[in-house]
Amino acid sequence: MKGFLRRRLLWSSLLLGASIAAVSAFVLWASTMSRAAFLTGWLLFGVMLLLTSYNWFKKIPYLPLGRSEVWLEFHLYAGVFTGVLFLLHVRGRWPTGWFELVLTLLYAVVMISGVLGIIISRGWPKRLTARGGEVPFERIPLIRRQIREQAEALALNSVAESKSATIAEFYTRRLHAFFRSPRNLLSHLVEIRLPLNSLLNDLNDLNRFLNESERKVAAKLVELVRQKDGLDYQLALQLSLRLWLFIHIPVTYSLMLWAIAHIVLVYGFSAGAR
């Protein structure tokens, strides 16, 4: 933990230093330099290129490019630094042209999704650990199937054992859909347990109509419902840990293409003017 804090302090200091240096240089020289916007633009594009290449570095682990952990930290802090560079580049002005507006929006989407990604990457694992029931993402369907089979078996067996179809009917009406597929993913993301409590309340209400053996089955079903809910919780959070990249990475490529077109337009149409 100490190492993490030390690294965070180091990277934060680097970010702060780079930001102060960039802003100071801009304030000092932007008024006297002819091509300040070009320079901030190239710097921004260069940093964005490095950030984009992070995804490729991970795919070529045989090259001695340093540890992925370091690259990730660089990615996070350099990403924040691009915010400073972007504001300097546009001089805090909201774009008025369509092309530049799209470019700005693309940058905003990449930036916001990146910040959300940091929040998710840092926060979700703690939530997953706190809730318990951790399981590899790829095994979730298998475990869900196992739980469903157990629940179905309990419901079916209860008919023969207790000579009553109360639990089986309840299973068909209320639990079958719950065990069949992932449920309440959004509620899990925002930590709302209302659906689970509602289901458990229904099971509790059912107890009045059950005999002794059925109550034992119902108690086991409650346990399975909790397990399935925990599994859905794992799925919701682990899926969001992966899905934010579905926005961040594709939009990054779009942003880079748009930025290249922007460079060509700027050079072609400014003819050297700033």
Binding site: T96, G97, R242, P250, S270, A271
Partner: protein, 572 residues
């Protein structure tokens, strides 16, 4: 603390590889097959096992044996089929792409969509609106500019400034290859970002040269500037509708804040004749000419409030050369009033139609009501004409006729009565003046109000004068003998319409400030006093402390209109 859920029990020996492109279609059901899809995404599932033929010693045909693994339930009860096939076929699935693969495909799709959008944007009918950095200012968006746009067909006028936007005449569309060529032909080009720092600030560019095709006649500042300054460095386009934003101070300071540039300008100015600097077109206005300082206007400064030089009028203690004898303090004092009210500045200084400046001061408009030229105390209707001394002489020499005319206007119609009236008035005049020449001399040269010719200076019960005295022309004017035909020479009055010609001042914007806050008229007794405010008076408001703008462009204009187009440009 909430209770943690236990981790579910599952087989940890097997795991799916998330970096594979395909996964079994049954995976979402929790029962993926062991084989999994092929790398190209085809289901390879056949049967739960591949039976093997076991031949015991002596057996010719042997027996097929089930090889289903223990983890999948072990050998099946049915056993292999007689032909050696498995009796438990696995139903075929439709393999799914893995998350990673789907993300990669999404990246490719988004990139492709981006490229298509860019191509449509660049080549489509809205290409100019698509690539435009924003609306142009009203200066480049008016009726005149719309007419000029026909000179650049298809480019919506972009080609007027941007050479890259000059379109292909046959297609009337912009050409991407032309844009690319323009980009890579620019200096420094896109592949030379390391040379950006070598670019001289304010250097003229291709766009600036295009500006000059329309804005011809705009000369660059003073004749002693060492190089032309980029138009587009100061005038930023595509900043939105409305008027173009004023140039930033930094552009002015790039030269005026640089000691080396100012020194170079000073040296160049020394080599130029003084007449080179006398380029300002008056456009009919009378301007106050200030002598050019020895070093020209090359003081180094970078802020109006801090080190901008004081106005030259105060710095060199210049005097108003006007020959009119005028005392501001007297006119604003208690001794002068009109209709019982003391005079105010606005009684004489009436703003012009724009409110920026003031109407010229004339005798007829501003002086005559008090300074009527009544030379005969008995007949205040008799007034000598203002202006040319020859007219005054003619008037005086025709006094009998003038008195006869006055008699008729007074109702005396009989010839005898008229002659009697004229003789009476002439006799009274002779009591004051020995002869006509003496009267003329008194009127031209007398400057002592105590020896008044007219009755105006009467003191009311309130002790205030109601009319000014007419002592003689010399009371207000510089009158010298030695003119043509023995007439005196009255030095022409010259009241400048503009005092600070290098800066612009809009009085209309300063109406919330009283005149006396800037102009010390109440204490000015001499005509030579130039009662313009000092720089300190301006910086009370126009400074960071005062909170009002102190930009260079608030007062100054960079361009100077010279040459044949000057008048047209000023009028524009």
């Amino acid at each position: 603390m909430k209770e943690q859920l236990p981790s579910p029990d599952f087989d940890r020996s097997r795991y799916e590889r998330p970096n594979l492109n395909w996964e079994c279609g049954w995976a979402c059901d929790g029962c993926p097959c062991r084989i999994g899809p092929s790398p190209t995404g085809e289901c390879r599932a056949t049967a739960e096992c591949r039976p093997v033929l076991v031949k015991n010693q002596g057996e010719e045909k042997g027996r097929w044996k089930c090889t289903r693994s223990k983890e999948h339930g072990g050998p099946c009860t049915d056993g292999p089929l007689p032909d050696g096939g498995c009796a438990c076929p696995i139903p075929k699935c439709r393999p799914r792409r893995s998350l990673r693969n789907r993300r990669g495909r999404l990246c490719v799709a988004v990139a492709a969509i981006t490229l298509v959008m860019l191509l449509i944007g660049f080549c489509g009918p809205w290409q100019w609106r698509f690539i435009s950095a924003g609306p142009v200012s009203s200066q480049h968006h008016g009726v005149v500019f719309s007419q000029l746009k026909h000179a650049w067909p298809g480019s919506e006028g972009c080609g007027a400034c941007h050479t890259a936007a000059q379109v292909n005449v046959s297609t009337e569309r912009g050409d991407i290859s032309k844009w690319l060529r323009a980009a890579f032909n620019s200096r420094p080009g896109p592949l030379e970002p390391h040379r950006l720092h070598q670019v001289t600030p304010g250097m003229m560019t291709e766009i600036d040269n295009n500006c000059l095709t329309c804005h011809s006649g705009h000369q660059f500042h003073q004749p002693n500037v060492t190089r032309d300054h980029s138009c587009s460095a100061c005038h930023r386009e595509h900043q939105g509708h409305g008027r173009m934003l004023p140039p930033a101070d930094a552009e002015c300071h790039s030269c005026h804040g640089s000691s080396s540039t100012m020194e170079a300008s000073r040296r160049k100015g020394e080599q130029l004749p003084l007449s080179a600097f006398d380029f300002r077109s008056t456009n009919g206005a009378t301007i106050f000419h200030t002598p050019r300082p020895v070093n020209g206007y090359t003081a180094v400064f970078n802020s109006f409030a801090e080190n901008h030089p004081d106005f030259q009028i105060h710095q060199q203690k210049l005097k108003d050369p006007n020959s009119l004898i005028f005392n501001h303090a007297l006119h604003l004092g208690e001794s002068v009033n009109r209709a019982g009210q003391r005079l105010s500045c606005a009684d004489c200084h009436a703003p012009d139609a724009s409110g920026m400046h003031f109407q010229p001061i004339t005798h007829a408009k501003h002086c005559q009501s008090c300074h009527a030229l009544q030379f005969d105390a008995r007949n205040p209707q008799m007034r000598i004409p203002h202006g040319d001394p020859a007219n005054v002489r003619s008037y005086l020499r025709s006094l009998p006729t003038q008195y006869a005319d006055l008699a008729r206007r007074s109702g005396i119609t009989a010839q005898a009565d008229t002659e009697k009236f004229v003789a009476e008035q002439m006799r009274h005049l002779r009591e004051r003046a020995l002869n006509g020449e003496d009267l003329e001399r008194q009127i031209f040269f007398a400057a002592d109000p105590s020896k008044q010719l007219a009755p105006g200076m009467s003191v009311t019960s309130a002790g205030l004068s109601t009319r000014a005295q007419f002592a003689g022309c010399a009371y207000c004017h510089e009158v010298k003998p030695g003119g043509a035909d023995g007439l005196p020479r009255v030095t022409p009055v010259s009241i400048p319409d503009r005092w600070l010609v290098r800066g612009e001042f809009n009085h209309a914007k300063h109406v919330i400030v009283s005149c006396s806050e800037c102009h010390a008229a109440a204490s000015s007794r001499a005509t030579a006093d130039i009662i313009l405010p000092t720089k300190q008076s301006c910086t009370e408001c126009h400074s960071p402390k005062g909170g009002v703008a102190q930009n260079c462009s608030t007062c100054h204009s960079f361009h100077t209109a010279r040459g044949p187009q000057a008048r047209q440009l000023i009028a524009r």
